[in-house]
């Protein structure tokens, strides 16, 4: 818990730190983001300015931010964890009451130069907070009910706020990220078993309470679940997204239709093709080879993160890295399951590819934290 734990003399300092940055990770992230630029360029019908250029600018800004975050010693971030969490939580409360309404949900605060999505911020501040918590906690007490209840509350409180926005996708991701950190920290598997059982119970009650005054979800969320279960029931309505996405994916075949040749996206059959459904365009134009390669790149990013976590003997750092990696992974898993018709459409973007500013920035800040942990790891 003290700076003295680090052997400062061996730790890099000043600009030399740049040499100790996990460069393969930077390259991989840039590679995936570049695939995104390519796809945005293609979806816009060969127009750079529509989506690709703004996305590139944001990526560049994000990279700068990532390096800045990486240069700052990890213990600073650990000390900031509580404050960051608090700020994010207050902002979440703030949007709940004063936020702009977009897409039927209160999601952002307009600061003038950027639309701040506190729910995005919360994803990493929650991980930081939990990592810091477990760093502080004696590991023998990890599974004691009281000490389990604290992180559960830390996770559930923002999750509920996000769910009320309502943003089902992000709240789900928050829950999973919190659980991942708790899991990595060594919380007894019994708890997870119990929660899983409870989850099943909730799912059952969600369906049984449908149509009553106490129904949990919005009607549109129920409909999404319905159409997920049987997309063909309403092929021109709610099932349209899933069917068209699958057609785009499937018609790509082994090697795809070629760059800028995707008929599904170019002719507008694909919904939200530049945001949540961007993967379908990639799969359509570059086929199984392209789609699988992207999956490989994602796996590599996560792999490098996990290896970095192994290498790191600092508990906060390791948990932080695992949390960020898990968060990143859940994004990918939920998004891909969704576009491939394995999960209901819940509005989760594909990290680094989907068009969108604050998600990209927050993600790169997350990687900045990973880098900071890596650079400043105990040696």
């Amino acid at each position: 818990m003290s700076f003295l734990e680090y052997r400062l003399k061996q730790a890099p300092a000043g600009l030399r730190k740049i040499l100790f940055i996990n460069w393969p990770l930077v390259v991989l992230v840039t590679a995936v983001a570049s695939v995104g630029f390519l796809m945005l360029y293609s979806i816009a019908g060969g127009n750079l300015d529509t989506w690709a250029r703004p996305q590139m600018e944001r990526f560049a800004a994000g990279m700068v931010l990532m390096f800045i975050v990486a240069m700052v010693p990890i213990w600073f971030w650990r000390n900031m964890a509580g404050l960051a969490y608090l700020v994010a939580f207050i902002l979440l409360l703030f949007v709940e009451f004063f936020g702009e309404v977009g897409m039927g949900a209160q999601r952002w605060i307009d600061l003038g130069f950027i639309r701040l999505q506190p729910s995005e911020m919360m994803k990493f501040t929650l991980v930081m907070m939990l990592a810091a918590y477990y760093d502080w906690l004696d590991h023998k007490k990890v599974s004691r009910p009281l000490y389990v209840l604290i992180p559960v509350l830390l996770t559930v409180a923002p999750t509920v706020l996000v769910l009320m926005q309502p943003n089902l996708g992000t709240s789900l991701l928050l829950l999973l990220a919190g659980a991942a950190v708790m899991f990595a920290a060594g919380v007894s598997l019994w708890y997870f078993g119990a929660v899983l059982a409870l989850g099943v119970g909730v799912v059952v009650s969600v369906f049984t309470l449908r149509g009553t005054e106490w129904q949990f979800l919005h009607d549109y969320q129920y409909r999404r679940i319905d159409t997920f279960l049987d997309p063909t029931a309403d092929p021109l309505g709610a099932g349209y997204n899933i069917i068209q996405a699958k057609i785009a994916l499937g018609s790509g075949g082994w090697s795809g239709k070629g760059f800028m040749q995707g008929t599904q996206s170019r002719l507008n059959f694909l919904p939200e093709k530049h945001t949540d459904f961007i993967f379908t365009t990639l799969a359509e134009e570059f086929g199984f080879i392209g789609a699988f390669s992207l999956l490989g790149l994602y796996a590599l990013i996560i792999g490098f993160c996990l290896v970095a976590a192994f290498q790191n003997r600092d508990r906060f750092s390791a948990l932080l890295i695992v949390g960020v990696a898990a968060n990143f992974f859940f994004y990918i898993a939920v998004n891909l399951s969704m576009v491939m018709g394995m999960a209901p459409v819940v509005g989760v973007p594909l990290p680094l590819l989907s068009y969108g500013g604050s998600a990209m920035l927050v993600l790169l800040v997350g990687f900045g934290l990973v880098q900071s942990a890596h650079v400043h790891r105990p040696r």
Partner: protein, 648 residues
């Protein structure tokens, strides 16, 4: 609170173990995603590729331009004209109903039409264009174009639609086109996909219907790429279809126009045939109607007016009307008797004004009788008793045989609707039809074209053409298809003894040209146009014995629909026959007064280039004829405008 190194070791181990588990779970999930990807993109690729193509490619038909119909000289009878119309697409309109109501405020749309269109728009898929209004004036069309910003989804279009510039003259011949009905589709085994195009028009009756396959042409196709909204993005491939084939009829539009005008308001029919090749020069049924009304979709009021008219404008009397031929049938009876050898042209029969068979008395039209009558006189003065006598000697079967030989009781294959076969009765026919013995009285009635005998004006014209030539002339209505003359088969000789035939022709000459002839007032004095013919007056009611005693009520005193039909058949020129004609004036009274003058005028019109030459009429009639001709509402061939011409 400092942790021991051991503690830290332990913590790391747990963390690493849990991280490993997490990593394992993540790998498993990645594997699942990969497998799913492979399943969709490799295993099911073909199916999805097909679906993507179906999404993207749409095949649209390009309707071909319908073939034109012209008269024998190339005058347009059925044309295609530019049609300004307005089409709505629901997908582009947003609130289609609102847009349509707004449109109704700009151009004239009846509320009834508006409701129908709204229904249609709602029923069809969002991107299917629906025609809202057609045949707009240029002014209305511009108004729509001007107001385009307020009318999303409304597209002004220019298409082709059928127009009949000679309106009334050819309504019965050419018919009209109309939108394909479900009934039309059911009637076809493999309907042309063109017929599924909304509001595609096909021939409904007449030449338009019976030559539909020739006129329609073949649809072109275009493969187009559409976006998710169904909007056309680009054309991938275009295959031009073949436009419909133009056809020329045998009809002379000007003669037709003259005939139609000459028939005027009478419920009547006139058919002129070229005896040399069977060309139908004119086939007019009166009163007529404007076929353009039907193309546009006729209003209830107009339709009811047509239906309720007791002169039946919608009926094509030339081929659908079946009339007792009356005395115009006498040539058949006479020829049958001559050919059978029961009479010669010189055989004489005494006519006391009636004849008795089996206790029944059959009257001649002339109460006092004609005295001693030979063939020529029997025709020219139309003595009935002569025919009663020879008919009962030759028998109905021989008469029917001759009738059929001359073209009665059969259906001629011309492209017109509702062609009647008429009835040429014989013993077998009565047995089949009425389950009764043929009686001598039936023969007597049939001998003068009454009783069961029914003929159409077309059949009478064919009969006359055959009598004039001795050949089996058959009518033909189409002269060229795609500018290629259809071959004229020379008609085979009928095999009637020439001597008998010329005796009949001589008799027909005297009907018009002898001083005793029933049609003597309709003679032609111009030697190159001399007409021969036969009048007919067929009863549509029975004259009871009591009425006969009291004196037969004259036609003038009867209600219109109880009066006799007036008929006339004839041909000209007598010595070198060119045109045969049959005229039927329903309830017109006597054939000599109501039908023969009309026939003469039309025949003369057909034989000359312009109006019938006054020189051809007897001097005493010229003044009356001239003013009559001047008052005919004829169409000016140059402008197409129908005017009552008045000569100074």
């Amino acid at each position: 609170m400092r942790r021991t190194a051991r503690d830290s070791e332990e913590t790391s181990r747990v963390l690493n173990r849990r991280t490993l588990m997490l990593g394992g779970a993540m790998s498993a999930m990645v594997a699942v995603l990969g497998v799913r990807m492979r399943y969709l993109q490799v295993d099911q690729a073909d199916e999805f590729r097909l679906l993507a193509e179906e999404n993207r490619i749409n095949i649209r038909l390009i309707p071909p331009e319908r073939g034109l119909i012209q008269d024998r000289n190339g005058q347009l009878i059925a044309a295609n004209e530019q049609n300004y119309r307005v089409v709505i697409t629901r997908e582009a309109a947003g609130d289609a109903e609102l847009v349509l109501r707004r449109l109704a405020g700009i151009i004239p749309i009846t509320p009834e039409e508006l409701e129908r269109t709204i229904e249609e728009v709602k029923a069809l898929r969002a991107f299917v264009p629906v025609t809202v209004a057609e045949r707009l004036s240029w002014e209305d069309f511009s108004k729509v174009a001007l107001n385009a910003p307020a009318l999303p989804g409304i597209v002004p279009e220019v298409g082709l639609s059928r127009r009949y510039p000679l309106d009334h003259d050819f309504a019965h011949v050419v018919g009209y086109v109309g939108p394909v009905s479900d009934k039309d589709l059911e009637a076809l085994e493999t309907p042309d996909p063109l017929l599924r195009i909304p509001k595609f028009q096909i021939g409904k009756i007449g030449v338009e219907k019976w030559m539909e396959d020739t006129l329609r042409g073949r649809a072109g196709t275009k493969r187009i790429e559409v976006n998710s909204a169904g909007r056309v993005m680009r054309e991938l491939e275009r295959q031009e279809g073949d436009p419909g084939t133009d056809i020329r009829l045998t009809i002379d539009a000007e003669v037709q126009n003259f005939a139609q005008a000459r028939l005027g308001d009478e419920s009547a029919a006139a058919v002129v045939m070229d005896v040399t090749n069977g060309d139908v020069i004119c086939i007019a049924s009166s009163p007529s109607f404007d076929p353009n009304l039907f193309v546009r979709g006729i209003s209830h009021t107009d339709y009811n007016a047509l239906m309720e008219n007791d002169h039946r404008p919608l009926a094509n009397k030339t081929v659908s009307g079946a009339y007792p031929p009356g005395s115009t049938f006498k040539m058949v009876t006479a020829l049958a008797a001559l050919e059978a050898g029961v009479a010669t042209p010189d055989t004489r029969v005494r006519c006391p004004g009636y004849i008795e068979f089996g206790g029944r008395r059959f009257h001649c039209w002339k109460r006092g009788g004609h005295g001693s009558v030979n063939l020529a006189r029997s025709l020219s003065e139309s003595c009935d008793v002569y025919y009663y006598d020879i008919a009962q000697r030759v028998g109905i079967d021989k008469i029917a045989e001759m009738g059929r030989k001359l073209g009665l009781g059969q259906r001629f294959d011309i492209p017109m609707s509702a062609i009647t076969e008429g009835i040429m009765p014989d013993k077998q026919w009565k047995q089949d039809r009425h389950k009764a013995e043929w009686r001598i009285g039936d023969t007597i009635n049939a001998s003068i074209g009454q009783g069961y005998v029914l003929t159409s004006p077309l059949q009478l014209a064919v009969m006359t053409a055959r009598l004039a030539t001795g050949r089996a002339v058959s009518p033909r209505l189409v002269r060229t298809v795609n500018d290629r003359e259809l071959p004229v088969v020379e008609a085979a000789p009928l095999g009637i003894t020439a001597e008998f035939l010329s005796a009949i022709q001589r008799g027909m000459y005297e009907v018009v040209n002898s001083d005793q002839g029933t049609a003597k007032s309709s003679r032609v004095v111009e030697p190159t146009m001399v007409m021969a013919g036969k009048t007919g007056t067929s009863q549509v009611r029975n004259i009871s014995a009591a009425e006969r005693e009291a004196g037969v009520i004259s036609n003038d005193q009867l209600p219109w629909n109880r009066r006799d039909h007036a008929l006339f058949v004839g041909y000209a020129p007598y010595d070198a026959p060119r045109y045969a004609i049959a005229v039927v004036v329903e309830h017109g009274g006597g054939g000599s007064t109501a039908a023969a003058p009309i026939a003469r005028d039309i025949l003369l019109r057909a034989l000359s280039d312009g109006l019938p030459p006054l020189d051809a009429y007897p001097a005493s009639q010229r003044g009356r004829i001239e003013s009559m001709l001047n008052e005919l509402p004829l169409r000016d061939p140059a402008t197409g405008v129908t005017t009552v011409r008045t000569r100074a």
